[in-house]
Symmetry: C2
């Protein structure tokens, strides 16, 4: 029997599979350097890594009828219905099916991107819009809490670089707390599709980041990558645990005194 | 002298200029119908209206070297520097210059879009990423509070349609309050560029919106459009009024008891 004082083993250190989706037009950018660093770090730890470098792939950002090669030219495009039908029938455009196969393969997904206008670059938004189709990532065939869907249980990490200083994204920072700015991704994409969102990793002051600055950022990023499968995720509430009512609102008695806005959705 | 009891005239009812940027792949979508409705409503009120229909324009979403035709092929692309140089020199790609001209012309900007993954469709994010260049919309030549920039003082309205019910976007709604989800656009895009953000207009339950439902949505939207130049904007705090310190954080003494997170940034 293990003594309570014995060092705790991280819950899971076996080799796993990681998909890195990275989005920057410049191969010599900080974003590209951090993506390369992540690939090496994760492979050194024994993990398998695949990379979707969206600019290198010339990824089409705009969702449209191209996504559904068998969509009749004169038929009205209803996005969710078209996604659902093509997903069920295995008739999505080949590049979407290829990305979905990478997602099924992966145990964790890392989005590596510069914070442009307080969100992901358009090319990465287009990957989200087009790849996370209805009835693949969410939807009635995969009912809430979606954790039974294709992405359920996988881990999700946002790794962002931002030009501004950390204080601007702090509790009283002018741009809002980073966790709140990224809520549409952390909760709207990761949590919504049944994934476990980790705290975002952020490199601040990226515009002027000097060579020696990179070492410090990489060291901090490396520690986060080392914990990719062991770190506790953000404790968002559960859709299947009765935290929310049938009106999709948090039950009133679960409101914590003093908490408001987006904070309510963590335990 | 006017009696204090006399009815107040709206502050400004003279004809103005409105740019509507709309983003949906289907010309028979609710988004397209609402954009058409807005054009008619605003023209009936005597305003001039121009429309950037991004799918019809086959708008390129991904920011890249295409934006800067004179960028040397072998030079490293640093996005802000490249935007700033091309903006100052008048050497942006023609489609970017054309959109900037529309923005300079406009007194108000309406973004008409479906809420995809709790944000704008990729094609509209790509319009924001590419058109709102450094030293046009923000940046050292246009220092904070940016209200002296090209966009300063213009009004901004987000007009969204969402598949889910309104309760899911309410105070305790599972997706977060709509104002918080849209903060990266309301505060990150409109406020940051010196624009006056109005409360967003939202059509909920859009997926199943029946024909008779459209009338009610259009009526509510029409009332908002009628107030486009008279409605008080969201009272975000001022960057030039001393509300924020040099560290870009809200001064501690301005924290309202009970307010937290993104709420802090309104008066």
């Amino acid at each position: 029997m293990t003594s309570p004082a014995a060092p705790q083993q991280p819950s899971d250190e076996r080799p796993r599979r990681v998909l890195i989706v990275t989005a920057h037009p410049e191969p010599r950018s900080l974003t590209a350097a951090l993506a390369d660093f992540a690939v090496e770090r994760l492979r050194s730890a024994g993990h398998q890594v695949r990379v979707s470098d969206l600019y290198a792939m010339k990824w089409q950002a705009a969702l449209g009828t191209d996504d559904f090669p068998e969509h009749p030219a004169d038929a009205r495009l209803e996005v969710l219905a078209a996604q659902g039908e093509a997903t069920r029938a295995g008739r999505l455009a080949a590049e979407l099916a290829a990305e979905q196969e990478k997602l099924r393969w992966a145990d964790a997904v890392v989005f590596q991107f510069p914070l442009w206008w307080f969100s992901v670059p358009a090319i990465l938004k287009g990957w989200i819009d087009r790849v996370l189709t209805f009835e693949f990532a969410h939807g009635p065939a995969v009912p809430p809490p979606y954790s039974e869907g294709a992405l359920g249980g996988k881990r999700g990490l946002l790794a962002v670089s931002a030009g501004a200083r950390e204080s601007a994204f702090s509790d009283r920072g002018v741009h809002g707390p980073l966790a709140d700015l990224l809520f549409p991704l952390q909760h709207g994409v990761f949590w919504f599709t049944g994934m476990a969102a980790l705290e975002p990793f952020a490199a601040y002051g990226a515009a002027g980041l000097p060579e020696e600055g990179f070492e410090a950022v990489a060291e901090a990023y490396g520690r986060r990558l080392d914990g990719l499968f062991t770190e506790p995720p953000v404790p968002f509430r559960r859709l299947d645990g009765g935290d929310y009512g049938r009106d999709m609102r948090l039950r009133e008695e679960l409101e914590r005194p003093g908490a408001s806005g987006l904070e309510l959705h963590t335990r």
